[in-house]
């Protein structure tokens, strides 16, 4: 086959262009650290990257939710722990008022102490976390309990519905609570009414009524403990979920990295090969164009 001057150059130029394009691509890969510069580099990897980014977005969202819920549950747990403690104190104070032994002064002191416990419980049930009354159900902007002009506590102002927040595609955690389910449950009187009655009963030395009041406080104590246990369970589940989300994020990040990022050892090796190929193409072109019969004419 005749090899024409133009043909030789055309092929040489095509080879130089191809190898220089490959070298430029490999250089970009090494300098940017990215294997996927554009979807056309690897369309399947590109769609995988979209999917993994969406998964990472969801994981980030659930992690933020878990953090927020965790903070809230910590507050609720602390408050419930305080309620349990106050109810324990109230039972002890009320028990001290039983029988004929306590003097009137002691009875009055016990009544005052119960008033203090009532106010402390009032504060606990009205706990506000970042503008939300956590024990008011879904009426989270409504103060859970208010006081009457005479200082007694009015009926529950919230509702019995609660709010949950998703911490995963399939799981959620309750973040507001029905305060009345702790303070009153299925009983006729809420804990504030029980304490008010106990104060009067202790002052009056009405032992049967005091015993009824103590029993009601015990029930309230049990409800608070149950609620705290539930919160504790949720906190444990939340912690497990956080660990799971961390693992999921690690997995998604690794998958995304494999799809989009360059394996530097491979990339540098490929760049080196591409550079060799480019130099070879340049060298071959220079060599073939140097040799001509014209050189031998005298």
């Amino acid at each position: 086959m005749r090899i024409s001057f133009q043909s030789g150059f055309r092929h040489a130029l095509a080879d130089i262009e191809r190898t220089s394009e490959e070298l430029a691509r490999r250089q970009r890969e090494v300098s940017s650290g990215l294997r996927l510069q554009a979807p056309s580099d690897d369309p399947t990897a590109a769609v995988g990257a979209v999917s993994e980014n969406a998964a990472l977005g969801a994981i980030d969202r659930y992690q933020r939710a878990a953090d927020s819920v965790g903070s809230r549950l910590t507050v609720v747990d602390t408050v419930l722990g305080d309620i349990v403690e106050k109810l324990t104190q109230a039972q002890a104070v009320a028990t001290g008022g039983l029988g004929d032994t306590p003097s009137q002064a002691q009875r009055e002191a016990a009544a005052r102490e119960l008033a203090g416990i009532r106010d402390a419980l009032f504060g606990d049930f009205n706990t506000n976390f970042r503008g939300v009354f956590v024990f008011a159900g879904t009426s989270s902007t409504t103060q859970t309990y208010t006081k009457n002009p005479d200082g007694t506590v009015a009926a529950y102002q919230g509702n019995t519905s609660t709010i949950s927040v998703d911490i995963d595609r399939t799981s959620s955690v309750q973040i507001t609570f029905d305060g009345s389910s702790v303070a009153q449950g299925g009983e006729a009187r809420d804990v504030f009414a029980v304490i008010e009655a106990l104060r009067a009963d202790i002052l009056a030395g009405d032992t049967p009524a005091i015993e009824t009041g103590i029993a009601d406080l015990k029930k309230a104590f049990d409800r608070a403990v149950r609620a705290q246990t539930q919160v504790g369970t949720d906190q444990k589940a939340l912690e497990d979920q956080r660990l799971r989300l961390t693992d999921e994020k690690l997995g998604a990040t690794e998958r995304l990295s494999k799809l989009t990022e360059a394996n530097m050892a491979e990339a540098i090796s490929a760049m080196s090969r591409a550079e060799t190929g480019y130099k070879a193409a340049l060298g071959a072109t220079a060599t073939i164009t140097r040799v001509s019969l014209m050189d031998y004419l005298k």
């Binding site: 043909s7 979807p39 369309p43 503008g131 519905s161 709010i163 973040i175």
Partner: protein, 459 residues
């Protein structure tokens, strides 16, 4: 033959060998001229006129351009396929960039929008969270319309290239018609005719890179050129221009032939075919997919939003301005002005209680809802498919461009092996004609010397 006759013959031979050197010089001079086909000198021995004559020497019969019509035609047939893929790859590279990187384009906006509702579900009465939902909704709507704008710009860029190609087509068909006229008027097989044919072939090759042409050889040496369904571009010395007329809201050009017939669908290859396909099919296809995603966002979000209750306890309004159909949704999507103007109208509650967050949670869950492609894919999946399609189209065009380019390169190599100038060959020819010239000169001197000897005899 007399000595003087022999001297004349030697002189003619000297001329012939010198002419051979001229041809070599012409070939070397045009080694880099596009479309130039190498010339060879046709020499013939002048036969003896009598039994006592050895012959009249040599005569130049002409200069021949070495062409292979079959390879030329193969080149015209293969070039459009390569240039079409090249045009598609180049124009889609811009579209790829317009779509943005994974995780920082529409997909990221979708994530942020649904995240904002998840944030609202944590604090359903928060004014800040409601404002965030509105901001992310507006940002999502803007990202859709911005994307359509970018795709429209890409379409207009391609349209500009189409206009440029049409100008080139018209210029080339005018050139070919002019060459047809010149070739038809030229006589014999003179050097000028060969030059005209070189130019003709080069013009047809350039034209075949622009669109799928069909070439018919005329008896007078000219070429008739048609395309598509036999629509004429060049018939003899007449050329028929293609007209590009801006139409539609984007001002994209429509191509019509000399009779005003729309010929866009008939241009199926060449760079013009590639650009038309990208402008009229590929990019609108991407916009249509984008419309589908935007429409799904609007309908799904509105459905949940209208089923819930806002902060005032009233039934939710559509979050996005309702749309009648998917077509144009990516451009038209916008947050309902009534909601945008009052963050309290953002729905978070599933019941008429201000603190409830059921609707906000449902809205956040739309992120994973399979609402696209017959309820088999999420909105993110749909975006991923669009990215895949654009990447795949570009990659396919690039690979096809490369493989078609190899075919064209091989055909060009074959054509060059016949028609191209080889400097080595020309160097050899140069030696050949130089040596022949030297020998003929020596012969001339010898005959001249013989005549001198003869003349001295009679002195």
């Amino acid at each position: 033959m007399s000595l003087f006759g022999t001297l004349t013959s030697a002189s003619r031979s000297l001329d012939a060998q010198r002419f051979g050197l001229d041809v070599v010089g012409q070939n070397i001079a045009n080694v880099n001229t596009a479309g130039y086909t190498r010339r060879t000198l046709d020499l013939a021995a002048i036969p003896p006129t009598t039994n006592l004559s050895a012959g009249g020497g040599v005569e130049v019969q002409g200069v021949r351009a070495i062409r292979d019509a079959l390879l030329e035609r193969r080149l015209w047939q293969e070039t459009p396929a390569q240039t079409m893929q090249s045009a598609i790859a180049n124009s889609l590279s811009v579209v790829e960039v317009a779509l943005g990187d994974a995780g920082s384009s529409i997909d990221q906006k979708l994530t942020a929008f649904f995240d904002s509702f998840a944030g609202l579900s944590e604090d359903p009465t928060s004014a800040t969270s409601r404002q965030e939902v509105l901001l992310q909704g507006q940002s999502l709507a803007s990202s859709f319309s911005d994307m359509v704008s970018r795709l429209n710009i890409a379409q207009r860029d391609v349209d500009t290239r189409i206009r440029g190609d049409v100008d080139q087509v018209n210029s080339l068909v005018a050139q070919i018609a002019g060459l047809n006229e010149s070739i038809g008027g030229a006589t014999g097989s003179g050097a000028n005719l060969q030059t005209l044919k070189d130019q003709q072939n080069e013009a047809v090759k350039a034209l075949s890179g622009l669109l799928n042409v069909h070439v018919i050889q005329r008896e007078d040496g000219g070429l008739d050129v048609t395309f598509g369904q036999g629509r004429p571009l060049v018939i003899g010395a007449s050329n028929f221009a293609v007209t590009a007329t801006p139409t539609g809201p984007l001002g994209l050009v429509t191509l019509t032939d000399a009779n005003g017939v729309d010929i866009g669908a008939e241009v199926t290859s060449g760079s013009l075919g590639g650009y038309l396909k990208t402008r009229d099919t590929t990019i609108p296809g991407y916009v249509s997919r984008l419309d589908d995603i935007a429409y799904a966002v609007v309908t799904q979000v509105n459905t949940v939003h209208q089923a819930g209750f806002d902060l005032n306890g009233t039934a939710g309004l559509p979050f996005f301005t309702p749309l009648g159909a998917a077509a144009g949704a990516a451009t038209a999507i916008s947050v309902n002005a009534a909601v945008a103007g009052d963050p309290n109208r953002v729905v978070a509650a599933g019941v008429a209680a201000a603190g409830d967050n059921q609707a906000a949670r449902q809205m956040a869950d739309l992120r994973d809802a399979r609402v696209m492609f017959g309820n088999t894919a999420t909105m993110h999946d749909a975006w991923g498919r669009l990215v895949y399609q654009a990447g795949s189209d570009t990659r396919y065009a690039r690979l096809e461009e490369r493989s078609r380019g190899e075919v064209v390169l091989q055909i060009e190599a074959l054509r060059d092996s016949v028609s191209g100038v080889s400097l080595d060959e020309e160097a050899a020819n140069m030696i050949k004609f130089q040596r022949a010239y030297e020998a003929n000169a020596r012969f001339f001197t010898t005959i001249d010397s013989a005549i001198e000897t003869l003349l001295n005899m009679v002195r």
